[in-house]
Amino acid sequence: MNVLELAVADSKYIAPDIREIVLRRISAGQQEVLPSYIPGSHIVIECGGRANAYSLTGSGDSPEEYRISVQLRPDGRGGSSAVHRFRHGERVKVSGPRSAFPPVATARRHLLIAGGIGITPILSHLRAAAAWGREAELLYSFRPGHAAHLEDIRALCGSSPSLFLMEFTERKAFRTGLAEALRRQPLGTHLHVCGPLGFMDSVIAEARSACWPESRLHLEAFGAADLDPGKPFTAHLARTGRSVDVPSGTSLLEALENSGVPVPNLCRQGVCGECRIPVSKGRPEHRDLYLSESDKAANTTIMCCVSRSHEPHLELEL
């Protein structure tokens, strides 16, 4: 994963509990433009020993800065409060943008639905729709006085004849508006929704009851493009008698390489089959796309670039 070291160029409240953070390249010597991103992408920010994913709010086309909007969650794991404390000029390590919530290129129309801070990836979609003249309709539900980016969105929708905006500050009005909007879209419309889990569930349920096919419904699911870091375990190498610790977030392949045990490999994503290793004891947690279901059930081999161990110990024929 490519990691960018960026500097906080700006940080300000854009709603009572939401701060917008602007990240830029550190030195003028570097190429100014940041990697482009697919609308709806997120970056992962490391801070306070945690890594949190945040949606980028721009269109993604050759950006000079990355903008995120972060809502303070006092009951969260502390990631949002750490981001809220970012100071101007502070250096931040950021993973390159990853896409897990892209627009659908063949959509005849884009029905965008945002609840509260869920507006962030939706705004990215809206900007891209404006840039390419795509027809899009946004339903934005928020608490009065707490809406992020509302002025931006109003200006964007006002400037383009193919963008439409409906604002909601009451749950009941939103339900009525949603039911109505779902029933007047032309065939071929795709729905993208982001917001609190309960909000997304109710939108999807309403769309199903209006007979929308599943293939036209898209939810933001953070981190779905990444495998989780997994539990730590120890790999025992039967032939050499060595033991190799595999921490959470480190792959078995990386741990073996770090211990001077080379393993042939190519894709490092569980696809190509190069890094297959025989297993003599234990139960691999198979996460690859290479082994067949019967291979996996046999528990005699493991693709060490992505797969791990169900138990604290795993014995390999190495």
Binding site: D61, P97, R98, S99, T106, W132, C267, V271
Partner: protein
């Protein structure tokens, strides 16, 4: 292995991506990260995404002539316009960074400036305005790189071949395949269904993120130094596959054809781009590298019949193998 180097090496051989790591060939999802240099007995390859060589002008002129004769080699479904612009921007940026002496790209908002000193061309164009470049974004892009370009859309949990410019196809047809699913495009390939190779390849491709460029190679054989072996021109080159078998000039006529395919997730549109670069080397040329001569001879002798049939090399492969191993 005897790897004594011949005294003079043709530039083509020095950069030739010889595709066989073993004496036997089988299909596999042989993907690896892009931009890793591979040393060969004749030189090295693989350090660039876009390969410009001594045949640059000649191959671009050939593509131009093919597109004039047969515009169906360029296809772009409507919804792929943003992907075509993304492909153009991504490739021009890559060219400018890989060939800084010869290529220059700059952009302010939607206004772009492109300077290609190898062709002596300078262009100004506007992102999103198809009329600002001859041939639109995709047609113009194909006039700047030797690579064929294929664009795939990702939707409904599948990949779709929805655009591209392919003038140097190895026995397939862009115009026929456009709009098909990735799995349908590969339907005719033997064995891959049983071995689930294309399904796995599709899973891999669908998970590729921008910035993680990969590559793979593929191969077949071609009679003559002929880049255009598309289905459309089959009557021109098909009969050569029979006539070459008994021809004493077989070692000069018969070429190993290697495609290096770069797999790029386009960073703005999310479409997948395949850049397919075709390399040709005759048996005579290859035989100047003893390790290649022996390896290719063994691969051709061992190749199972169904795979040889699909590649269209059954009629002459044993003659080629005998010459490589015996002469």
């Amino acid at each position: 292995m005897n790897t004594a180097l011949p005294a003079t090496l043709d530039h083509r051989l020095a950069r030739f991506p010889f595709p066989f790591p073993e004496d036997a060939y089988r299909y596999s999802a042989n993907v690896e990260p892009a931009l890793t240099t591979v040393a060969t007995p004749a030189g090295s390859w693989g350090d660039k995404l876009i390969e410009i060589d001594g045949d640059y002008r000649a191959e671009l002129a050939e593509r131009d002539a093919i597109l004039r004769r047969d515009p169906s080699r360029l296809a772009l479904l409507d919804h792929m316009r943003p992907a075509a612009w993304d492909a153009l921007l991504t490739v021009l940026e890559t060219l400018a960074s890989e060939y800084p002496e010869d290529m220059e790209f700059s952009r302010a908002g939607r206004a772009c400036r492109w300077n290609n000193r190898l062709l002596g061309e300078e262009w100004e164009f506007t992102v999103g305005d198809d009329s600002s470049l001859p041939g639109g974004p995709l047609g113009f892009l194909s006039s700047q790189v030797q690579e064929d370009i294929v664009l795939l859309d990702q939707r409904e949990d599948a990949l779709w071949l929805d655009g591209g410019v392919v003038t140097f196809a190895a026995d397939w047809s862009m115009g026929f395949d456009v709009g098909m699913r990735f799995l349908e495009v590969h339907g005719p390939v033997p064995r891959i269904r049983e071995e689930e190779i294309i399904t796995r390849a599709q899973q891999f491709l669908m998970r590729l993120q921008p910035g993680q460029d990969y590559r793979r190679s593929n191969w077949t054989m071609t009679v003559g130094r002929r880049l255009d072996t598309s289905i459309e021109t089959y009557p021109e080159w098909g009969p050569d596959r029979t006539s070459v078998a008994d021809d004493p000039a077989l070692p000069a006529r018969l070429h190993l054809r290697v495609e290096v395919q770069h797999l790029v997730r386009l960073p703005r549109s999310g479409a997948l781009m395949f850049l397919v670069r075709t390399h040709l080397a005759s048996l005579e040329e290859l035989a100047t590298v003893p390790a290649w001569r022996e390896r290719l001879g063994k691969v051709l002798a061992e190749l199972p019949e169904d795979m040889a049939d699909y590649k269209g090399i059954s009629r002459y492969r044993h003659a080629a193998s005998r010459w490589l191993l015996g002469a």
